[in-house]
């Protein structure tokens, strides 16, 4: 009777551990963030580049681990907007293109594209000077541990400006580089260059949450299952190893 009770308790504990482990796997974790340390505004140059400009930041997720992005947020600003033609478009890229003159590989393969969305003027009481934009990516977007997120601003008139918010400090979660990507072409015909600001180390403000790749969770769950079967077999046979 006593053994039966002990066995039941152990079964419950094992089940709890398994459920807990699986829950941990499915839970989204913040793997990159520097939202808490804004330093300044980075003008995308859209108003002087034919109304469009694409700037991007290459980031390294915590531990360099790939994952499935379920939430993405970034900060931008818009100033002196006239009318409502101003828009933005967010894209994720794998850095799998040809090597830039400095060495790092250019962004090339598009991993995710938000499509174009209208952006507001942010110099107002609602936002202050800048604005946080968040995307719920639903089932998620699979990304490598090092990739580039970017924003294309369009419809920015000559008297208007728009850009991202940057930080000069290191991210609080994940890491980045002291440079940023600029596409002086278009999304379809890009012309990327890796640039630095002579006065500041630039990381654009963003926050990225991921869940692990399914295979990771599956392997962990399978491992727990095998462990449970071995334990059960040992109990059933009564053998001591």
């Amino acid at each position: 009777m006593k053994n039966t009770i002990i066995l039941s308790v152990k079964k419950i504990l094992a089940l709890t551990c398994a459920i807990g482990a699986f829950g941990a796997v499915a839970h989204a974790d913040i793997v990159f963030s520097n939202l808490n340390q804004p330093s300044g505004l980075f003008n995308s140059g859209a108003s002087t580049n034919g109304g469009t400009a694409q700037i991007g930041d290459e980031v390294i997720l915590a531990g360099g681990q790939s994952g499935i992005v379920t939430n993405f947020s970034f900060e931008f600003y818009g100033s002196n907007f006239v009318g409502s033609a101003q828009s933005a478009r967010v894209l994720f890229y794998a850095n799998d293109g040809s090597a830039s003159p400095a060495g790092p590989l250019n962004p090339q393969s598009i991993l995710w594209d938000s499509g174009t969305f209208t952006i507001p003027d942010t110099f107002n009481p609602t936002y202050g000077t800048n604005c946080l934009v968040s995307f719920d990516l639903g089932a998620g977007v699979s990304v490598p541990g090092d990739f580039t997120w970017s924003v294309v601003f369009s419809g920015i008139g000559t008297s208007e400006s728009a850009g991202l918010v940057f930080s000069t400090g290191a991210p609080t979660v994940g890491s980045g580089y002291n440079d940023y990507w600029v596409n002086t072409g278009t999304v379809i015909s890009p012309s990327w260059s890796l640039q630095v600001n002579p006065s500041y180390s630039v990381d654009f403000l963003a926050q990225i949450s991921t869940v692990p790749e399914p295979s990771t969770g599956l392997m962990l769950f399978s491992g727990l299952g095998v462990f449970a079967v071995i334990q059960w077999a040992r109990r059933s046979s009564g053998k001591k190893y």
Partner: protein
């Protein structure tokens, strides 16, 4: 006795069938071709010249077969130089580029990118035949093959996309409308089209469920196409260099969690300078 007889007959049939299979396999893998030259003892350049001459002198009605035989013969003595033969054949007989490349990748699958590059660079006007010839054998290698072809002949981007759409069935639904409506004008546009078709085909790209297959559609009535200025129309009607319909992830706007300093630093693209080689610094928490 009767059973033994039946057993013997069955075994006989099996053995003869196996023999036939072996003969077939040997043929595919390089049994002595009738139409190929003897290359034993010849240098690479001599082998190339002799092999190409065999193709060029063959009657047009049997040239495909001769090309295949010549390649099978050549690969025995020069397995690592097969792409060179493909390039030479494609340059001398451009119409054989597709057949040569298609046969070559079966003989040396590891050289698929080199063979693509060789054939396309030597016969750029036959790019579609080359890519189709290769992908009809290895459709799953569409990315590698299209990438090599686009690098070798960037101005043949449209041919590459069309060839992929014909041979890679999983991408076809996402390319058909685009191909019906417009011409792919640059290598980078082709890469993006193929990349997005691939993402869409695997469900990794969100798109308008009401318009299946239209993710890559540029307006069929658009005019004035020129490199880098495709007037793609999205739902908002704005043209920003893209050709794609909008995705359905909705942005949510809100105030920043931490406001900027009262007088924020202002910098911009115009102040940037190119990163120097080895100048990249890593920053971590």
């Amino acid at each position: 006795m009767k059973n033994s007889l039946i057993l013997s007959l069955v075994l006989g049939v099996l053995v003869s069938g196996l023999g036939g299979y072996q003969a077939g396999a040997a043929d595919v893998n390089g049994a002595a071709p009738i139409l190929a030259p003897e290359l034993a003892g010849l240098s690479l350049s001599e082998s190339l010249a002799k092999s190409v001459a065999c193709v060029t002198e063959a009657d047009a009605s049997v040239r495909d077969q001769v090309t295949a035989d010549v390649l099978r013969n050549f690969v025995r003595s020069h397995p690592l130089e097969l792409a060179q033969l493909v390039k030479t054949v494609s340059a001398k007989c451009p119409l054989q580029a597709g057949a040569a490349a298609g046969t070559a990748v079966v003989l040396q699958p590891d050289q698929i990118a080199a063979i693509t590059t060789a054939a396309v660079s030597a016969a750029p006007n036959q790019t579609r035949d080359v890519v189709e010839g290769i992908l009809s054998r290895f459709p799953a290698n569409w990315f590698q093959v299209s990438d090599a072809a686009l690098k070798a002949a960037p101005d043949q981007a449209d041919a590459v996309v069309r060839a992929v759409s014909v041979t890679e069935v999983t991408l076809r639904p996402y390319l058909a409308d685009t191909l019906a409506g417009t011409t792919v004008i640059s290598a980078s546009a082709a890469r993006e089209l193929l990349n997005r078709a691939s993402l869409a085909s695997t469900g990794r790209l969100m798109r308008d469920k009401q318009a299946p297959g239209n993710i890559l559609v540029a307006s069929k009535t658009q005019t004035g196409l020129s490199a880098g200025t495709v007037s793609g129309l999205d739902k908002s009607g704005s043209a920003n260099g893209g050709t794609f319909s909008t995705m359905n992830a909705t942005p949510v706007f809100g105030p920043p969690p931490v406001p900027l300093p009262v007088i924020p630093v202002e910098i911009g693209v115009g102040q940037g300078t190119g990163q120097t080689s080895g100048g990249r610094n890593y920053s971590g928490p």
